[in-house]
Each structure stands twice: as C-alpha cells, then as structure tokens.
C-alpha cells in the first residue's frame, strides 16, 4: 500500500516535469553612464543558451536608461526589455534595487536570473536569491538546460580554477540564479533587424534606506578596460615601485594597445590600483595575449589568466611557476628586456 502510493506520487511528479514551462530568463543588463556593460552581453549569450525567452532588465536614473534601452532592443537573443527608472537608482545599491527584483520575480514568470559576475551583480543577486529562498551559483563557464526535467546544468571553476565542478540545479529550485564568467561566453552582438519589446516597470521606492551612496572614485585610463581587452600586460612585485611599474610597463602596454594588469603583490605594494588585480580574487581575464612581467605565477594569479590564448612571461627566475603555463618564456632582467622589446616591436 505504502509502496503503491510512492509510485503514484512519483508518477505525478514526473508528469508535472513533462509539462514544465519552457525557460524564461531575466538578464540583469548593467550599464555605466549609459554604456552597456560588455559582461552583461556575455550574460545574455549564456541566457540565450537556456533555449527559451530572454528578458533584459535595465535599471537606472532616467537620463541614461532610455539610451541603454534603445541599444538593448537591438541585441541578438533578447525577446523583451524591461526598464525601471527612479532617482533612487542613480547610484545602484543592492538595498534599493533588490525590492524591485523581488517584486518582479514573485510572479513566477521567470525561471532563471542571470547576470555577469560584476561587483554589483555579485552584491545584488545573492541578496535577492536569499529573499526568495533560492540558492545561487556564481561565475559559471557553461550552461545547459533540460526542459523535460526542468533542470539546468552548469560548470564552474572552484579552488582557484584548479578544479571544474559540474553542478545541476534540479527542478526543486524554482528560480535558478547564476552569474556568468564573461570570458567564457561571447558577447551578444547587436543586429539592426532585431527589435525587442520594451516596457517600463514601476520602481519600488525604498523609504528610509539604511544605506547612502557617498562617492565613487574610478581609476581613469585611456587604455582598454582590463576585463575586455584583447591584450593585457601585467606586472608583479619585481617592478620594484609605482614609478618603475609605470615607466616600464606603460610604454609596452601602449605599444601593444594593451590593458595593464597587476599581480596581488604589485597591488598590495601600491604599484597599481586594486581594480587592476588579476587573479582568483581580482579580475579574471582571457585575452589573446597575456604578458606577465616580473610575475612568479602563484596559483591565485594563474586562476585569473590561464585561459588566455597566448601567454608570454618575462622573468629573471628560470624556475618561476609562470614558465610552466607560458607559451613563450624569456628568462631575463625585465628592466633590460622590456625596453628592448618596446623598441623592437614598434614598426
């Protein structure tokens, strides 16, 4: 009798699986001062791979959102765009944006919530997920959705990229929250033929917010953005100080049209800004060319760059671990080799 009931209930369960609705992903589209974030374009590509509808969400102050929405409408893979503006969204804070997402997600329209692994999304998504009693997963490098079982399988690096975990979010997780490692997915292109529906969403005003934005200080640079640059020149502790870091690396970066990165040691010693740190706990990059100058190649640093296409290392120490992953290694004093390289690489 008991067993019969168990069989019966498992049958109804599998039937409900079969009639599961197709995936509908909500992608959080980030922008800075009206410019769509390229990481969000990769998140869109990942969302599209789920095989269902994809809705983009743009949140911000009114002066930027309209322009972003116009660009978002042209993005390949986007079915519709929701946008919400409020003075409260001028500086995005998780405390003021999460109520909007909670409200939007409470209707059960969406099966997945996707974003890039940006510093804001990393702050926002887990907060929203917890309120909806949903677990979340971060920095995924592949996505596969099985509509018949309503489960989604992800891969993601763990232990500083020294292992790849394959993880399944089963149907028991009602909304699947994940952030996307942007270097693992191509950016969704714009196409003129595309025209996603756009509709506005009432902001959820938070009265008496427990948090206030005071100021933002962005590191200004004419060089390409580290996260998306096709070439990166990175320096480590061997650069000695901030002045020699700049005077040695910047000419090389400029000659190659590359972004500048740094190891943790270089950042901690104050040679370069925090936001330039490449590694497990900094930026993860995968450019065409990664040039590691005076970087020994600790596990934590390799975690942030070992998916680069071509790795070049310049280091005095022939036994530095960086040479084990470098495609081209030069054992030399960087203070001699780098200027020479700048000279010879120029046409």
């Amino acid at each position: 009798m008991l067993r019969a009931r168990a069989v019966l209930s498992s049958r109804t369960l599998s039937r409900s699986y079969a009639t599961a609705s197709p995936p509908h992903a909500l992608v959080f589209l980030e922008h800075r001062q009206g410019v769509l974030d390229s990481g969000s374009l990769s998140a869109l590509t990942a969302a599209e791979q789920l095989g269902g509808k994809v809705t983009g969400l743009v949140v911000g102050a009114s002066d930027h959102v309209q322009g972003v929405v116009e660009k978002a409408k042209k993005l390949k893979g986007l079915t519709s765009v929701l946008h919400s503006t409020s003075a409260q969204y001028t500086e995005l804070l998780p405390e003021t944006v999460s109520p909007l997402l909670e409200k939007l997600l409470s209707d059960n329209l969406f099966t997945h919530v996707v974003s890039s692994t940006s510093s804001f999304a990393k702050s926002l998504l887990p907060r929203v997920a917890a309120k909806l009693d949903a677990p979340a997963i971060s920095d995924v490098t592949s996505v596969e959705h099985d509509s018949s079982s309503n489960s989604t399988t992800f891969t993601r690096p763990i232990y500083a990229g020294n292992a790849i975990a394959t993880v399944r979010a089963p149907s028991s997780i009602p909304i699947k929250f994940f952030t996307v490692r942007s270097t693992a997915f191509a950016a969704a292109p714009s196409q003129d033929s595309a025209e996603a529906d756009a509709s506005s969403l009432e902001p959820v005003e938070v009265t008496d917010s427990p948090i206030q934005h005071i100021s933002t200080t962005l590191t200004k640079s004419d060089r390409p953005d580290l996260g998306v640059a096709s070439r990166v020149v990175s320096g480590g502790r061997a650069l000695k100080n901030a002045e020699t870091f700049a005077s040695t690396l910047y000419p090389l970066a400029d000659a190659l049209g590359a972004a500048v990165g740094a190891s943790r040691a270089a950042v901690d010693a104050g040679y370069a800004d925090n936001s330039l740190q490449v590694g497990q706990t900094g930026k993860v990059v995968a450019p065409e060319l990664y040039m590691a100058v005076g970087i020994s190649g600790a596990i934590q640093h390799l975690a942030g760059m070992k998916d680069s296409k071509l790795i070049v290392a310049i280091n005095k120490d022939p036994d530095a671990p960086i040479f084990q992953v470098a495609d081209l290694g030069l054992v030399a004093d960087l203070f001699e080799a780098v200027p020479e390289l700048v000279q010879k690489i120029k046409p």
Binding site: S123, Y159, A165, I214, S275, K306, L330
Partner: protein
Amino acid sequence: MRPSPVRLLNILVPVKRAVDYAVKIRVNPQQTGFDLNVKHSMNPFDEIAVEEAIRIRERLKDAVKSIKAVTIGPPKALDTLRTALAMGADSSIHVEIPESAPSPEPLAVAKTLQEIIKRQKDGVDLVILGKQSIDDDLGMTGQMLAGLLGWPQATFASKVDIDVAKKEAVVTREIDGGGEEIRCRLPLIVTTDLRLNEPRYASLPNIMKAKKKPVEKFSPGDLGIDYTPRFETLKVAEPPQRVGGGKVQDVDELVAKLKEAGITAA
C-alpha cells in the same frame, strides 16, 4: 556599572575552515571530490574579518562589548575557532556537522547565521564575513545573510569606519574600476576584501589563553537548519592542463615569435 549613552557593539565573525591557500588541490580518480588529507587553515578572507573586528575594538575600546566567532564545520573546524579566539575573539560557536558531510551551501550557512543572531540575547550589531571562501569561490554568504535579515550590506570592504554614537558606518568598497564610499546604518553586514587589513599572528600566550575561551556547540538539528545541498554536484574534474611552450633565447626571438602569432604593435 558605567552608564552608557548608546548600546555597545556586539560583533559576530563567521569563519570557515578551508584547504590552505598554498595547497594545490588534487581531484580524486573517481572525479567525485578531492584529496582532503592536506593542510587546512582559516579561509584568508575570514582572517581579515577577525582582524578587522579586533581592530574595531582597538579603535573604539569599550564600545565593543563582544566579538564572537562562529563556524559551521566538522570537528576539526574547532581549530579554526581556536585561531580566531587566539587572535582576539572573546567566545565562539561551533555548529558541528559530520566529518563526511559536504560543506554547507551559502544559503544554509546564511540561515544558520540568521538563527544564531536571533538567539543572541544582546543582539548583534555588526557581522563581518570574508568576501568569498577560497574553496568553493562562491562569494555569497554575506549578501544572503543581509537579504534574510533585511540589513544593509557593505561588500568588498577595504575600509570600515564606525561611529558608535550615530550607529552608522562609513565603508569604502572595492568595485570594478575603482572604489566607492557608502554610509550604512547599523546593524550591518560587512564582507572583507584583501586590502582591508593585514591579519596578525596569534602569539603563544594568546594561543594558550584561547584554549580557555568558551566554545558553544550546536548540532544542525538544534538550530533547525537543513544542510542537504540543493545543487547536485555531478562531477569534479581537473581543468585542461596548459603546457608551457618553452623558452626563447632573447628579445629578438620573442619579437619574431610574437609576429608569427600575429601580435604586432597596435
């Protein structure tokens, strides 16, 4: 008793026992897990969290009433708590899970912390967590806890200034491309970035003293939290190995090889 115009701060610091950051982890041949017979230590970001709690006390003196460390982990996680106590925490809580149990997911950890906070007679004003653990690299527990409690959150903090009288904190955060400063009302969740501070080493006398500091024990059942993972780990695998391409003799050869690969001046 000294009269106090404001309530004194109670700080909670969750810590995790993780594989030591210098160990290169090995996937087992069955591809189901890791060889965990390796050195473990406190998650580096949590050391920064403990250090910050102690520095807040050093700055604010008697305004900090208690620093309590908490961990969820196997029996051996007690060592991690002892380290936190030796660094300067006053007392600790150990939610003990079986040796063989998988490491709880961030949402379950956040629910545990929520429950523990609820049980603190004097309340909790500040929770300082690491921004991520270096094993699962998820980086979510602090934000989830803030969500569950409805408290403000200051993630990736590189500077924390607390004004006890006003019951608020000004926090500098590391964000993509630079930094951000925010003002938050207490009670508050802070997650630590690397640049917040340089953790101290525990001195031998303090290690001895830590052995006498209280450790309150709970089982998951006591707190009513279910640690069954909601994600299924199907497999863990070694990442594709990169093979170094060998060395070049001099800069000329490097330039030639770069040109071959299509890399020229921009």
